[in-house]
Structure formats: structure tokens, C-alpha cells
Amino acid sequence: MKPVAAFVLVGAALAVAPFLGLPAFYESFLYLVFSWVVLATSWNLLSGYAGYFSFGHAAFFGAGVYATAVLGGKLGWSLLATLPLAAGVPALLGVTLGAVIFRVRALRGELFAVLTLAVTFVVSTIVLNTPIDGGPGVMLSAVSIPKLAPSPSGTFYLMALILALISVYISYRVYHSRFGTGLFAIHDDEEVAEVMGVPTYRFKLGAFALSCALAGLAGGIHGVFVSYVTVAETFGHWLALYVILMAAIGGTRHWLGPALGAALVTTLLYAFTASEHALGGRAVVGLVLILVILFLPQGLLGRFSRRAAFPRKELIPPDASIAVANKERLLVIRGASKAFKGVQALAGVDLEVRRGEILGLVGPNGSGKSTLINVVSGHYPLDGGSIVFEGREIAGEAPHRIASGGIARTYQIPRPFAHLSVLENVALPPMFGRVAMDRGRAESEAWRWLEFTNLSGKAGRLPAELNLHERKFLELARALASRPKLLFLDEVLSGMTPSEMDEAIRLVRAIREQGATIVFVEHVMRAVMELTDRVVVLTNGRTIAEGVPREVMRNPQVIDAYLGAAHA
């Protein structure tokens, strides 16, 4: 059965309830459950999937409440007419906040969490001290609601049900999509995700906007449901606590987790508030949150949150353009410089990479090799100089743009996405690289590179279950899967045994035969001599020699750089 059909079916079954003549109490209770399902599920889109914990969901919910309160309660609009703004205002608020925070490089997650803690307070201050509320609260009892069911409580039940179904469906679709894969990658390692082509900034803003909009819709409906709203009730810090607890209990890495958690926690809370122990109930909520984080960090659905792999499809034939080493300049670096707090890592590097060659980039530790890779891939901005790739200036471009232009890299210390399977890891770059496939095709593509690197037996494993040399090969497979035009290999051989090295060297040759140009950064001279067409020597951030490997290695300056002046 198609997922849409399943959602419609579940919805239709639940939609019967208001017509059965149940007491209004049940409808109202279930309304609350659905409302919390919306809030928890919407929170999870950014905070669960991408790992940016928001403590400000009450602010976005409240912005929706007050959008409807002003338009409906004060200006007399109908509930349905207010909903676009009940979604739009919080989304705009979220995007504005995100646009500031998401630009910060370090500490983004912590900063986001703490700033969202403050945002509820800020928004409520503004609402309280301006004519939006002004203090006395807003009456919404006159707002007209659509007549969907025999009773008003039935109508609210249906509206919340529809919104809950939409939220969970969005959560489901995002979870299985390219967008969701990008968010999961951001969760695990944002820098690597960006270098693999994920437009991280846009994705986070998108997820945040979606999350805020859904919370705002729930707020708009809820304002009319309670019919009288005040700042104190709307912006209470409890909302954020409950939402986080619900998602954590259900499982933040599963599309249904927050909804399940919402149903459980709402019932639990009801049991407490109905009795005399409201205060104790809050304490229990706090305790449950602690216990869940300590003992059940994956949540109830944690064990089911691995996404099923797609059936393998027909392999797409590789690019016909098998390149031969020629004189065409693929990458031209001129005068590249980069300093870190006074340490001049690159002091005007000139470098050319010709299409189809394997260029060895060698130099002692600290000579600037890794920095060079990092500036070409866009991870560090360049202080000065230019980088031209296929005739296009790429210095200053976002890393994901550079990646989709056809430049890939491996990391010296492998940095796989820890919560994605080996197959998903390798399928990520094709989804965001220069081809931009959907998830199904990308996985078929990934299988090819897993076979190429002898990892297909481990496709379903998590990266932590691989040994070091397998993880290095995973790095390779991932870089290859983006079908790069230019591939930077950063010390792939370090830490390998001689026989593993032979295997890796064979692999690098095979990669070139697939049509990629390779920049091979390595300390193992045997491999450099064996593999490379040309060698460039870097020391103290400058190129000091360039040419055929055997000649360059006899250059006295190069010997100096490696062994010190005394030797020469």
C-alpha cells in the first residue's frame, strides 16, 4: 500500500469519532493528544533529525496563537482565514533567528539551544508590552470556526487530526527523502555534510521554517479552542519541556517517534492533572526526562529507526569520458595564502592540476598540504589568491557548491556519518553531488562503489563496526560515489599494513581509470613514486619544487626540507 493511502485510511478511520455521539470530553482529550503530536513532530524536524535542540518551541507556538488572536479576536477574521499568518509569522521568526545563529561556525548547536531558551522570553515580552496583547489577554470566543462536525469540540478534534496527519506525513516524507538524509548528515558531522554537497545552511533554515510553521498552526487552532489566551499561559516554559520529552521518549530518529511519545506523555500528564498531584506530576516529568536520556537515549522506536535500503536497481553505466593525462589545466591555484592567528599555513601557493593526471602533493608535516585541501574544498576561506576550477573562480564559494562542481576529498582520519549505515554513507554524495540523484538511485550507485572497494558485505553495518582500513576504504567509496572530476586523497595509506597498501594503490589506479583526476597527498614515498605522474613539494606554505617524481626527490632543496639543512 502506498504511504499516502495508509495515511488517508488512518485519518478516515479516526475522523469517524465526532459522528458517534461520544461525550465531548473524549473529543477534547483526543484534540489535546493530536495537538501535542503536531508540536512534538514539528519540533523533531529540525531538532531530532538535524540535532539542533530548540528550547523555544513555545515562542513559535505562541506566535501562532497571537497571530490568530489578533486577526480573529481583534479584527474579526474567521479561524481558517487566520491560519496562513498563524503559520507564516512563526516561520518568519524562526528563519530570522536561524539566519543569525546558523552562520556561526563553532558551537552552533549549543548556541542555538541557549538562544532558543531566551527567545520564548523575548517574544512574550514583546507580546505583553505591545498592543498585540498589552496585558489583559485576548478573547477568541467570537471567532468563527468551520462546521466540520456536529459539535464544536468535534470540529476542533477534526482540525487537530488533520494537522497531526499532515505533520506526521511531512515527518515521514522528510525522513525518507534526500532532504532528510541531508539533515541526518548534519546531525552527525555538519562540516563533512557540507563538503559532500549538502547545502547545510539552507536545509537547516528550511527544516526550522517548516517546524515553526506547523507549531504556529497548532497554536492558531489552540487559541480558538481555549477561547481566551494570556501571555503567561501561552508562553509557559512547560511546552518546550514536554515537547522535548515526547520526542526523546518516542525516539528522535524515527518519523513516528515524537507522535508516539506525544500520545504517551499526554495520557500520563492527564492522569496526574486529573488527580490532586499536579505538582508531583511535573516532578515526574522531569525525572522521566532524565531517565530516558540516561537509559533509553534512542527512545522507544530507537531500534526501528534504521531506514530500510532500497531494492537495487539496474546500474547506471559509468561516465564515458575516460580521461587520459593531457595538458589541459583542470585546477589552477595562484598565490593562495591562509593564516591562522599569525601562523602562515599557506604563503602564496601556486599549483596546477592537469586533467587526467595523478599529482603527488608531498611535504613535511605542517607544510600546508591539508590546509590546501581545506581551502580548495571551501572549508576555510582564502586570505588571498585565486582558485580556478574548469575556468571558474571557486575561491569564496560555499563548500557544497564546490562539491557539486565536481571536487571531492577524503579525510586523513575517516569521518563517516556515525548514525548512517555504510550504504547510506556512500549514497549521500550522489544525492548532493553534481548528478543529484534521488535516494533510490543513489543507493544503487552506492552499491557499485561498495563493490569497487570490497565493502558490499558490510553495507548494512554502522561505520563504528568497521576496522580502520575498512573505514579508509569507506572514505574512498564515499568520495568516488560523487563521481568527482577532481579527487583529493588525504593520506589514505597512513596506518595501513603493506598488503593493505598494495590493495589501496591498486584502487587509486582504478579510480583514475574511471576518469577522475587525483591529487594524492601522501608520506609513503614508495606509493608516491609508483603512482604519480608529477610531484609538487610544499614546505612552509610554499611550493619549492615540481616535476617528475624521481627528479624532484633528488632536488637538494627538497632533501633539505625533509631532513634539515645539516644533512645537505
Binding site: 538562544l115 514583546i126 516529568v285
Partner: protein
């Protein structure tokens, strides 16, 4: 435009409020910057400390002397908290969630014991006021300022000049590497966490001296104190004091010039401003 006397009084009020922000932020910045734990429960501990001071003062103790009892007890709480977080290897964002849980539990406890009503501690300090020119200065506020400066400077000196401080900074930089060089990072982390909690006790006593207490009020401090911690630079013991004074004064001037209700926006705006102007600093 308000009169010079009013502005002067506001400025003074801002300095005193800022000192308390700095004092609250000191424990937070150390645990966040050096232990990689964002301890939301710090606020609940401060309030618990405030209420205990209030209770003991009502029983006849000198408010400042109560610290001799409360601070050691809190030290043990801090050690226990770190032991728990370390035992379960809780990641930094999850420390925020776990301590959120503790905050909520402590709030319920406070409300259960002392009710949700506002409480104000009576002490002989409260009555002492001086008139300097046209400005009024009260003793509790001066005590708070003095304690805030003294603790911040003491922590700074310890971290800067002692072997203990060097070891702690090494842990903050790279715990496994510090351990490899013979630093007992487990023990020292427990110690630092205990110290942060003891600082919460000190802040609690100062809070009880100068403010009215209500359990729900703890959430009102979170935004501004975190802003102080972040603007001051994580792990920097002098940062919260300096940033606290700056924010306190800005808030007080905002209150004097516009309306008191807008004060909560000041710290947030300053933080957002700092983020926009110097994002690389964070």
C-alpha cells in the same frame, strides 16, 4: 530624559544587578567551558541556595554565615551531578536535557516546601543604607558586588597561576591528552563540578540578600545569564563579571529611558548583535 540623579541611581542599580549576573554566570561558564556541560540546574541550585539562606536566616543565623553550611553541601551535590553525567557519558546537548529535568524537579520541590508565593528574607544587612551625594547604596548590594568580584578574581588567579589551574585548563583543552600526561582528570572534574555548585550556593545567598524569591522566577534569569556567559567567552572566569556589568548597566539605562518591561530584550539584543558583528568569536 530622566534627571541626572535618576540616571546615576539606575547606573548603580545596573552595576549591582550586573554583579549578580556575573556571579550566577561564573559557575555556568566554568562547567560549560571546562567540563563541556551546560548545567541548566545551576539556576535551580541558586534558588535552592537562596531558599536555604532564607530559611536559616529565619532560624536566627547570619545570612552570610549560612554559607558555611550550604556551600559544602552544594559541593557534594555538584560532585554527584558530575559523577552521574560522567558515568553515563552524557554528550553536551544531552547534559542540557538532563539538567533541565533536574531543574524541573527542584522547582517542584521548592514550590512544595515554600509555595509559589514570593518570599523576602529579613536580615540586619537589609536595613543598612548609605546616602552618597544624591545616590543611595545598600549594604546587601555592596556585599554582592564584593563577592562577585572576589570570586571571579579568585577563580581567575587559581586558573592562571596554580598547578591545579593549569591542570584544569589542560583538561578543558584535551582531557584524554591531559590524562596521558598524568593529570587525574576524573578527580579534578569532580572537584570543579563541586566548586561550580558551591558557587551556585554563594550566588543563592546573594540572591536572597537582594531579591524576593519565587520558584518560577528561576526561568527569568536563564536568558540574561546565558547571554552574559556567552558574551564573556566560555570558560573565562572574568568574562561573566565584565559582560554582566555591561548588560546590567545597559538594562538599567533601558529601564530608565524607556519602560522597565523592555529590560529582558536588552541582553538578547546584545547577544544577537555580538553574533552578527563577530560570529567567529563564538
Amino acid at each position: 530624559m530622566p534627571s541626572a540623579a535618576l540616571l546615576g541611581q539606575s547606573l548603580l542599580a545596573g552595576i549591582f544587578a550586573g554583579a549578580l549576573y556575573g556571579l550566577l554566570g561564573l559557575g555556568l561558564t566554568l562547567s560549560w567551558g571546562m567540563l563541556r556541560q551546560i548545567n541548566l540546574a545551576h539556576f535551580a541550585l541558586v534558588f535552592l541556595g537562596g531558599y536555604l539562606t532564607y530559611q536559616l536566616a529565619a532560624a536566627g543565623f547570619d545570612p552570610l554565615a549560612t554559607l558555611a553550611l550550604i556551600a559544602p553541601a552544594f559541593f557534594i551535590l555538584g560532585v554527584a551531578l558530575h559523577a552521574l553525567l560522567a558515568r553515563f557519558k552524557v554528550g553536551i546537548l544531552n547534559t542540557l536535557l538532563v539538567t533541565y529535568g533536574f531543574t524541573v524537579m527542584l522547582e517542584s520541590l521548592l514550590q512544595w516546601i515554600w509555595s509559589a508565593d514570593y518570599r523576602r528574607m529579613d536580615s540586619h544587612y537589609g536595613a543598612v543604607k548609605w546616602k552618597v551625594g544624591e545616590l543611595f547604596v545598600s549594604l546587601p548590594e555592596l556585599i554582592t558586588l564584593a563577592i562577585a568580584c572576589a570570586t571571579a578574581l579568585a577563580m581567575w588567579a587559581v586558573l592562571r597561576y596554580t598547578d591545579l589551574g593549569k591542570a584544569l585548563r589542560a583538561i578543558a583543552e584535551d582531557a584524554p591528552m591531559a590524562a596521558a600526561f598524568g593529570v587525574n582528570h576524573k578527580l579534578l572534574s569532580l572537584l570543579l563540578s563541586g566548586l561550580c555548585a558551591a558557587l551556585a550556593a554563594v550566588a543563592g545567598t546573594c540572591l536572597a540578600l537582594t531579591y524576593t524569591l519565587a520558584p518560577s522566577q528561576m526561568y527569568a534569569w536563564i536568558g540574561v545569564v546565558f547571554a552574559v556567559v556567552m558574551i564573556g567567552g566560555l570558560g573565562n572566569p572574568l568574562g561573566p563579571l565584565v559582560a554582566g556589568l555591561a548588560i546590567g548597566v545597559s538594562e538599567a539605562l533601558t529601564m530608565a529611558i524607556t519602560a522597565p518591561a523592555w529590560a529582558p530584550l536588552v541582553s538578547f539584543s546584545l547577544l544577537i548583535g555580538a553574533l552578527l558583528v563577530r560570529p567567529q568569536r563564538f
